[in-house]
Symmetry: D2
Subunit: 461 residues, 4 copies
């Protein structure tokens, strides 16, 4: 519905008697970051055991799969696939047999100079199996003759432009690496178990909560970490840039509200966005309602600030999801209605403020407003808890093209008319900054989808 989708999550664990089960749970907790494919590779007596499939984590991995994934270390990945070609080939972790042994890798992000690298690698004799640029990394490793994975990885990473939070596992160690600008989140933790402690890495802290791991710290932008039976070693392979490019949309929409992302609690940030939005732009109304589920925290904030009562004016059918392959045109036309049901008892003859996290194409907002009016709302004031999205993302997110983003070519007034609201207001960019960093002087975030100010020379692979 949103058409603005996070593409991946990664997970890794080293030295745990329940490695594959913890990886299963770690992916399960991060399912919202990718629903198309999932994979786990475990390390057992120097060999990799691989299991990947299309679909949800809970559908792919059953008890017998987990039992087969023996070993005390493992990495995993969930993916939101964007292209239809060769799907299973693209599922991660990617794996290969190199001269120095097996390697497996999981990647969240996007390499914007992938086309250039790909062509260069093909010229050097590389065979590409899938269509993802992530595969370039494996070829860099294959073509580097040194028997030193860390050194190879550092050199490879320096050739990459773009967003990458990655986990590698060989037959004897695990490497964690994050791009110098820090586009995507990556966190380090520790899990206590009966035999001692294991290190864990994940995209979001909600994965740690589920497996009972303790959050240690974020993996630093430009940092490479090695984990082995000898312990943990950290090194900076790239200089710290003047300003980081952490993805602000993680706070707006992608991340789970119960995660700590880039050092901040997502739910709290979202509530702040709602509060700032209320300060910037309030209107007389009877109720504040969220578009569930993503609009709930900002609606609570908006209500608190504006003192207008918060109500669940739209009920979401939580059975809508993977199982619902819409059977036909006649049913597809029901669209948003299948998922969201506005409540007459709450909305009838009311002046309604409805809060959503963002507007992409505008078509969903238009349908929601129409449903609210059918349910009897007297006035519908649409409030968006982020600025207008005017540009696509090239850093690991699946977004529509620029021309499909309604705010790229229409004014707020025009959008208001298109979606049929009585009034429309967005959070200002300053308001967004304030909601996210408060009074901190630096805004170490990429907000190119709102500003058009892209932080890399290359935009797209």
């Amino acid at each position: 519905m949103k058409a603005w989708n996070e593409e991946c999550a990664v997970f890794g664990i080293w030295g745990d008697p329940e490695a594959s089960r913890m990886t299963f749970l770690g992916l399960y907790a991060q399912q919202h970051r990718g629903q198309e494919s999932a994979g786990i590779v475990s390390l057992n007596e120097g060999h990799h055991i691989i299991d990947k499939g299309m679909g949800l984590v809970g559908d792919i991995f059953k008890e017998r799969n987990l039992q087969r994934l023996k070993g005390k270390s493992a990495i995993g990945h969930v993916r939101y696939s964007t292209t239809g070609r060769n799907l299973v080939e693209n599922a991660q972790p990617l794996t290969a047999e190199l001269l120095n042994g097996p390697i497996a890798m999981a990647h969240n992000g996007n390499i914007v100079n992938g086309d250039v690298l790909r062509e260069k690698l093909k010229k050097a004799g590389a065979i590409f199996q899938g269509t993802t640029d992530t595969e370039c990394l494996l070829h860099f490793l294959a073509q580097d003759k040194r028997n030193d994975l860390g050194a190879c990885l550092k050199d490879a990473a320096l050739q990459l432009e773009g967003a990458f939070s990655m986990v590698f596992m060989s037959h004897k160690d695990m490497y964690i690496i994050r791009d110098p600008k820090g586009f995507r989140p990556l966190v380090l933790g520790k899990r206590k178990h009966e035999e001692g402690e294991s290190y864990v890495v994940a995209s979001e802290t909600c994965a740690f909560d589920l497996i009972g791991a303790e959050f240690i710290r974020e993996v630093e932008p430009g940092e490479i970490i090695k984990i082995s039976d000898e312990g943990i070693e950290s090194e900076r392979y790239a200089e710290k840039p003047g300003k980081l490019s952490q993805c602000v949309f993680e706070h707006v929409y992608f991340a789970r509200p119960d995660s700590e992302v880039f050092g901040k609690n997502v739910y709290t940030t979202r509530k702040s966005m709602g509060k700032v939005l209320a300060k910037e732009n309030v209107v007389e109304a009877d109720v504040v309602i969220p578009v569930p589920d993503s609009g709930i925290p900002s609606a609570i904030g908006y209500s608190e600030e504006s003192k207008i009562p918060f109500e669940l004016g739209i009920v979401r059918n939580h059975y809508v999801g993977r199982t619902f392959i819409q059977p036909s045109q006649s049913i597809r036309s029901f669209g948003v209605k299948i998922k969201l049901n506005p409540q007459k008892a709450i909305l009838k003859d009311k002046r309604v403020i409805v809060i959503d996290d963002s507007i992409v194409r505008g078509t969903t907002s238009k349908k929601i407003i129409s449903l609210l009016r059918q349910a009897g709302a007297k006035e519908v004031h649409f409030r968006v808890a982020s600025p207008p999205t005017t540009g696509p993302c090239y850093y690991g997110v699946d977004t529509p093209k620029k021309e499909q983003l309604i705010a790229s070519h229409q004014t707020v007034e025009q959008i208001k008319d298109f979606i049929g609201a009585d009034s429309l207001a967005y959070l200002s960019h300053d308001g967004l900054k304030h909601a996210v960093v408060g009074d901190e002087p630096e805004f170490n975030f990429c907000s190119a989808c709102f500003t058009g100010d892209y932080p890399t020379d290359t935009f797209e692979s």
Copy 2:
């Protein structure tokens, strides 16, 4: 998790060019009332077309199934199956070829004198295929020689004791029948389409919302309605009892919040329960949080009344569901945590009031409180938006045995200690009444699960 499950929903539609698609959607909207099996029977040129399966509506019915279910009338059913034996045989609608033609039926409820009827029918030569008492109805019809379905149904209904909201479809008409005490909801509506209007019947009004049907009225307790191409006829087959036995638990937990049930909006009733609960029993605290999703409306009410801020202190993983067949003991032990994640950022060092709709065994509440404390809550005050559940239900609900209900043998103080709360309070029975009927003099509801005052002579089949 709740172990207190609604068993069924029914749906029927007569004279609609999209009959099977509307039935699909009508069941889809009522999926919360039964997830184990689903079925649709359509009527095409005097013949029934049957399709039933195990699982969710969206998994069972694909486009090709709906295309096969031709015809302008259809009935459907979703079921929460309680016993493991012969599952598919028990899936509804039940169907049979009778002397006067085909018959299909869908039933929500439970016939408490089923054992007696079953034995009587076997003695008369009946063969039972499944293990549900619902099948008795078909045998009554088969053994009644009159070519008058309405007359047969009225006589049959008078032999039944218990809860039944039922829809029958023959080769030429549809009958709707509700037990005299009105245990389970059943609503009548009308859908406009390009060729005119069709009559629809459903367990909950949320089904009407999705298909764009207009709510006409509830089917009356003791009423039988015939719908055919000649139109609609209503008749009362049983006298109105002094007091109805509408299930109050529909308002406490079963029904979707956006449904109108027994003439009242469920969300509003739940919010009232929260308000009354706050009036009856408030405590000083920093936040009010719900156990999602069912506790949300009452928590909003509690917050409004108590002026203590409402927060989403527990985040629910909405991917938990049918796909998650818990793979093994080591994962099953994660239990509630897989579904619910308390947020440290909100709970740390706070005095927390947590609102749930009910407590069944107490084990889930105990785990939730433990998780809240791990997340840093300083005090945990548990508030339940209904009275203590002290008895099982025999009227179409799957409940634990009496001895498994913690409130049947422990005091509130003991329960508080068991679940580990700093304080515990339930809504009083009078408070419940007030929340549901306000100042109305009559309380036309069954609340036997709270009071032990069962409204039928027989309890259980």
Copy 3:
């Protein structure tokens, strides 16, 4: 391809530590008698355990199914389904809960007065779940109040007209019953095992060979046998008719060549048919080739008698079968060729006698002859090891309608022209008799499909 299909096989075993496994194997050996559905019901501590499915025995029953089918007695069934409606409902064994306990039944044959019985039973209040007439038997039992299954069965059997070889299992005994005219085969055996001996019953002796059971004797036409822990009792419930109606087509085509059917080895009988055919009608030729696999034994006989060399001139692709759901028209047009490949190296410039067991519609024979000529055959002489099939069967076989049988309305000369043979000859009816019974005076067989002389008053249900 043949469009003349046996409909069923039955199996039963009483008092065996490996009851369900032996039933699995017994059905497996009889798979040629029905490939559409299969089922097993076992008896464990007075309860029936049921497992039925669509497809081949080896696909439906896996280790976990057999482990679930506990108990020391079991019955089973394979079925060739003729109508598309409600397939699973029609799969056998049929089961029911009667007043006196559970009953399961497996039936090979067809009840020609089924329509009459069905109507009569419906009038008495019976509900039919499936569309098979076999279900009538269960209703007779349900409506008979006596607690004496044997007595009920005998009375029920006397009301049936047609072909029935049936096995019943209650909670305490097994009954075996065969119609008075003996249409379908039914054999009794004994299996030795570590704990003693168990009785077994099957349609064909090849089932006994596989499980290592010893053949005792045929079940007599008009006989009812009771098997229980007390042993075996036999009774004749119907008088012996002047002439039996054993199906001669079992010997022509249906049965496995390695079975003993109606007291005679099928392979030997088929070889005799080939010998008699050679005696009746020989032609000068270079090779005798069979249409594999069914024509092989008669071609061997023909070659022996005529002294013309036998060759495998047509090779059959044994992977053709259940897995090959022909994907499209463009492939379906390859028809017979997908299954049968004539060998140029053997046929080129040869005068060929090709032997098949029968001709049904003539279209397959036409294609085979065309393929033989493409492979270089100089002359093609078609010989059929049975008389012209001029009428359908009503006794448990799936056959085309009379008008679709080419021999019902065309002379041998016309058929020869249609199929494009240089010459065509059928085995005479006297020749068939001689091949099957030799010099015995009595021909206790039904050959109505060749003669039109049907042995029952009613033809079809």
Copy 4:
């Protein structure tokens, strides 16, 4: 059962309006050469469309798969997989995106210097996805910078030692290549269709028979053929060796009897083996019976030569196959019996000569003889239509290790005792030669599995 399995078949077609359907049928006809996986790659507007899966051709490819495999050219492969690891990754055709475009390849055979090549390629930076040596070819092509596929292939082929019959498809042409010693068969044909003619290539001619293609000639050992829209070009890339190493076991067992292999009809050759065997070693007996199906042609030959009557003394259950995953130990113990049933009616009190194509471990022969004796055979004389198999094959066949081959360490007399025959005789190696090549002076075949005289320096990868 045989444990001596052909590993693969290939197919290719260029310029055909029904390319993917013809490939489907071509693989279908060659299913006996590999049942574990199958794949088709079609070429559509310069792009490859890939579809591969585990299982039988008819199970993997349905109408929708074939419709998706658009284009006028295609290659396909069936595979008998020997190792359990990464099965899908090993399924062929293998594909890759090279600098000069996409490439797909299908291989029948085995590269005996694969380990050496693999290590060399890894050192040059190659990443291996699967575990088959076939992948080496793709890496040779990837590392060769010339934009001339033919030149690259020729150079690559010269580095390979062992058996290879291969088909390659790029975005603009198809290459066919066979090793200089000609281990595995590979044939060229032509198919007429409405739009003209297409070239086809296959492992066996039976594929041509099914699709109605005309056999042109064998692909020569050491030949490389290019097919494109410009036509066909042939070149010899390697000198003709003094003696070819065509696999004689193709004639003994692997190939379909209706194929022409290495210029000879397989059925005829097998019959000759039976005749020569009878000349070499006859015994007085009543019947000659084959072990079906592979022993049938040689038994016919033996019977013809010896004048002892041929009978189908053992009946094979043709439903045994892929569907039969033997459910448990108690059933597995039935072993050979599940597949083969000796006929008492034919064998009782007879002196029996039983013909099989070869003896591998001896255990199956032992069981067959035991079953024949149980069925009443008075004497059992075992005759094998090939010499004793004393060594494994390294040229694309899955065979047991040397020590598991009974003839590698036991005399004929000892084997006779082990299998329990009254007498045992094998075809002599001279007899085999004579049966295959008649009076030709040259025996251009590899018979290393009988003689231990391996035609390559390296034996095994």
